[in-house]
Amino acid sequence: MRNTFLKAFMVVLLFFGAFAVVAKSIPSTPSLPPEETLFEVAAIKTKQDIAMAGQKIFFGKGQCALCHSIEPSASYRCPPLRGIGAKLTRDALYESLTKPEAFIYLDYSSDPPKPFSARMPQVTKPPIGLTENESLAVVAFLQTLGGEITVDPSELTSPTPVAASQRAGDN
């Protein structure tokens, strides 16, 4: 019995070893995470600076681009945002980010009509967890899509640096 086990186990080990040798022989390199970019509020001087910071958050920490495209695209789940700066006021944009349930059409297929659940997350809550400054920066970026930036650098409340990408420690 013991010999049979050893023999069988050796066969299995040889097989595993052969697999490891083949896998090792395939040229491959580790996949490194992209570098995180930090920007400081103190360095933001103009409205354009805020919008650029907002763009980074849009494609980074905010994860907006996970569902929204700028141009119309069939592969995205949520509405494209081209021209959103002209369509919505600043307050509406801000409210869409921080209170996505505020303006939502009722579902008239049920009687009485009931509110839809918003698929849009509240971006100030975890796991996204944007700060007030970051939310304003995203609003500024969205305003560049067909509108005019109305967020002023003086509105940014804290002079402390803000991370452009998600940090686990922020949660």
Partner: protein, 591 residues
Amino acid sequence: MSVEQQVVAIAAAYREFPLLGSRNMIWVTAQLHLLFAGFVLGVPIFAWICELVGVITKDLRFDWLAREFTKLLIAAFGTTATFGGVLLFLLVALYPTFFNVLTEIFYPTYFLYAGLFFAETTALYLYWYGWDAMAHRKGLHLTIGFLLNLTGTLLMMIANSWATFQMSPVFVSESAGVWRKAWQVVNNFTWMPLNIHRLLANVVLGGFICAAYAGFRYLAGITATDRERYDWMGHVGNFVGIFAMLPLPFAGYWLTREIYMYNQQMGITLMGGFLSWLFILQAILIGVLFLGVNYYLWLGLAYRTQGAERYRKFILAMLVTLAVCIGVWMIPHSLVASMEEAVKMGGTHHPLLGVLGLMSAKMTAANIMILVTFISFLLYWRANREETARWATAGRIAQVVIFAAAIAYVIWLGVYGYFVPVIVRIGFSVNQVLAVLATLAVVTVMTTLMLRNATLVGTMQWGRMPARSQYVLILMAADVILLMSMMGYARSASRTHWHIYGMMRDSSPDAFSPSLGDASLVIVACSVIFCLIVSFIFWVASLPGRAPVRAILAAQEAAGREAEEKVAAQHKTVGKIAAQLEAAKDAEVST
């Protein structure tokens, strides 16, 4: 938050595990937990099917087999729970922030999980300890077995929701209630395809581990009865493994399709990015599995089945077809080439092989391999029988036509796929799968009807298989374990540097994904540890009813002596009778 504060916060979010590192520790523990979970979910499904077959066919061997494997569950169940507990401790200790986020999202499911765990444990104890007590109430026993499998499957589905949420998170509406929110996150994009994929894979694992165990016991068997019994057991395990394996590529394809639908970038990372060569390794392992399964069936035709001679001539053609299909499946789309090589080749895609590296060709190869394996099984199924149905000849011709049509259709769609847009080509894969599944279903029903009242032209000679057939069974189980470990890594690595894809970034020093070669070492380590622990469980489970080997040998010797004495006594008696007859004849002649 200042940069310094952020650094402090990140340090608090992670803790380092000495020597091995936090990520490796979590990786190995999670993989072992997954393999054991697969084992304790797959084996009861396997045992329950065997018990059911035993009740229907009234063949007591199936009941023995089901019981033999349920016995292992008790030890394996504890081991699975232990690894689950260790994993939980490690997550809380090493990744506290991440675990807090998961808890915030999933805490209602924790209570459900705990409740189901209790229910599963109760069902398992009743199923195992009530085996004899319910020997005459098989309906009740089978119901408890069903509940055991149901609760186990639901447990798996809850755990899958945590893992799949990390891959394909959904945003929850703030206004929804606690349970509705929980359902929204549970029912994410990749949840159901992973449930189906894991369910099937667990049955495959259960079947092949059973076959490997039987193979080992066959090799170590002392008596002819042992070899007969374990040869049959290996055959049943292999049979269950094959049948669960046949739809597995389709389930895998569905899962990958959902990943692409959810996030194209993740799909590209998986199939076309740094993980793409992992799928070449997967093709090799699946190729080995298909070859092993078929080889075992062919050995069964050659050694075990009387009357199978008429089918042996097809083996070479099937072997060649399988080899070609495996070759196609293994071809990568793009090659790792130097600049000079790429210039000579006209790009990183080889002009001929690059074409065969596309999914169109791979799906075609996979489907044909499934059909060939099914043909092997079909030949084995009717090797020692002669159909007596009046329409048997017409039925056989119809089956040949169905197979030919299915293969032609699969190849045609594969070739035509190169001339249509990608989205149409993806749709073709569904048609290929449906054609193969329909063939499997129709031919199975036809064969069942044709073999009704069939006459036996030979017997199944259990216990005559050569030793290499049993090593094939052992290797197939090892192959499945390796495959599961590797694909576990693939699924996890597809998230790249995210704890929760696109939502929560991994900011630890382990946020990178290792090279394929380095990853393979951890994958092999997981597989070896699992094999060792499973062997230990088998050994422990065999202790209570184990008669000492010497005693068996002595009994055998005694039985042999007794038989010899009996034969000698019979010879003596026959000799006496012959002498008496001779004497009587002589007396008659003289009178």
